[in-house]
């Protein structure tokens, strides 16, 4: 056997992962985390459950515990008080999971940029404990429910 022979990289577990991701896209259970938002984004998130938007059509539903969740909807700048809680909630969420930063504050701290109580946007806090976390951003102050649905669909289609 010549020394230059190259081995094909083995695609271990690719087929196995695909059904997991496929079914994850079909049924996304969402846990809502408020890390110091002004409540505007939260109102718009609750709007998603109303008859007008009804995200249960896509199999999404709000659950009461991060252990049941597949996606975290994080709203608000992460305040110094909320950062450890956000890390804990992220650790408690079974993987694979997706983090959605909802609204301008969660994406890049918005008008609270450099505030004394702000320890960073959501992605910075999450990446501290998991550098490979899947994070999607939906900007807006607050983002419209249509924008949220479109952001979720775009994020899931690249998963």
């Amino acid at each position: 056997m010549p020394a230059t022979a190259k081995r094909e990289p083995r695609q271990t577990g690719h087929e196995f992962m695909s059904w997991k991701i496929w079914s994850l896209k079909k049924s996304v259970w969402v846990f809502h985390v408020n890390t110091g938002a002004c409540n505007n984004c939260d109102i718009e998130i609750v709007n998603l459950l109303t008859p007008k938007f009804d995200i249960e059509r896509f199999g999404m539903k709000l659950v009461g515990s991060p252990r049941h969740a597949d996606a975290l909807l994080v709203t608000g700048v992460v305040t110094a008080q909320a950062a450890p809680r956000l890390r804990e909630v992220y650790r408690q969420t079974p993987k694979p999971c997706v983090v959605f930063a909802m609204g301008a504050c969660a994406c890049d701290t918005g008008v609270f940029y450099n505030g004394y109580h702000v320890v960073g946007p959501v992605d910075k806090i999450i990446r501290e404990i998991d550098p490979n976390a899947i994070i999607a951003y939906v900007p807006g102050c607050p983002p419209k429910p249509e924008a949220m649905i479109s952001g979720v669909v775009k994020a899931l289609s690249v998963l």
Partner: protein
């Protein structure tokens, strides 16, 4: 050997696992769809419960650090096994009436407690304060509804002249009398509490204790709980139909009529679920022990009188 194979077939395939899971997933879709229609929404697609179970199977299983691991892992399987046996006994009594044994209604009553006991075990092993609150509520609820449920079955046994065999009881229609109707309504509400549906979803209340008893479960273990709930959606209304509403035929129009009765009971449960707010645990206890208890004591007396003097409508 043949008999063992037949038992295995009953438990694993036809009235047992495969059939009940398939029917249960459809039934839980009916629950979500009818709830959505009541709330003027569109609701999930038909295969949504199937996607949910499949996704949960593929997720990570987290076990809390302080949890009692063995009990925490075994509890969902205990509950699943209990419902599996219950639905097998009911299915065999419905489709092979000659294969049943005397006293299977008592076995079925015991097996109906097993899922609740498994939930209590699992949640108290998970070492979470929210789960502890849920456990204590579930225990009180079980004590609350077991008494009226057993009284309701006693009414049926009196009405049928002392029958203890499900296949024999399915030949009667006790709900077509005053005492039988009272017993049916009370048993319907007890089943509502057993399923954890809204006026009695105190143990699992998502907005109060963040889904209480199953809060620490994730991944495949949560899927086991969801499967157990889906199978209970088949077994418990089926039990009510067999005991109170005259059972199923094995073929033709009686079978269609039997399925119609099952769907009727299921939709009744869903409508009660969607038109009532959650009660507190003390209200639930009072409801089951005082109101249901008095109504059922009256029903037992009426049924005995009717049985003694041969008045069938009493």
């Amino acid at each position: 050997m043949i008999e063992a194979m037949q038992n295995l077939f009953w438990i694993l395939i036809f009235p047992g696992f495969v059939f009940t899971v398939a029917l249960g997933l459809v039934a839980s879709w009916i629950v979500r769809k009818v709830s959505a229609l009541v709330q003027w929404r569109v609701g999930p697609p038909l295969f949504q419960p199937f996607y949910d179970i499949m996704k949960l199977m593929g997720k990570e299983i987290l076990i809390p650090q302080d949890a009692q691991r063995t009990v925490f892992l075994a509890a969902p399987l205990v509950g699943l096994a209990g419902v599996l046996l219950l639905s097998t006994i009911l299915g065999v009594a419905a489709f092979w009436p000659e294969e049943t044994f005397v006293g299977d209604i008592i076995v079925a009553i015991y097996l109906m407690v097993l899922p609740s006991l498994a939930l209590i075990l699992g949640s108290s092993a998970s070492a979470s304060p929210h789960a502890t609150i849920g456990t204590s509520r579930e225990m009180k609820l079980v004590m609350g509804y077991e008494l009226p449920l057993v009284l309701a079955f006693i009414v049926v046994i009196i009405k049928t002249g002392g029958q203890l065999n499900l296949a024999e009881i399915a030949g009667y229609t006790p709900a077509l009398s005053i005492s039988g109707m009272l017993a049916f309504l009370a048993a319907l509400l007890c089943v509502q509490a057993k399923l954890g549906f809204v006026p009695f979803d105190i143990a699992e209340s998502e907005t109060e204790v963040a889904s209480g008893i199953i809060i620490e479960y994730s991944g495949a273990l949560l899927a086991a709980w969801k499967l157990m709930h889906a199978m209970m959606l088949v077994a418990l209304p089926l039990f009510l139909v067999m005991v109170f509403l005259g059972g199923f035929g094995t073929a033709g129009w009686p079978l269609v009529w039997g399925i119609g009765k099952y769907v009727l009971v299921l939709v009744l449960l869903i409508l009660i679920k969607n038109t009532n707010p959650r009660v507190r645990i003390d209200q639930a206890m009072k409801f089951f022990w005082v109101y249901c208890g008095i109504a059922l004591a009256a029903a037992v007396v009426l049924a005995s009188i009717g049985n003694y003097y041969g008045i069938s409508w009493l």
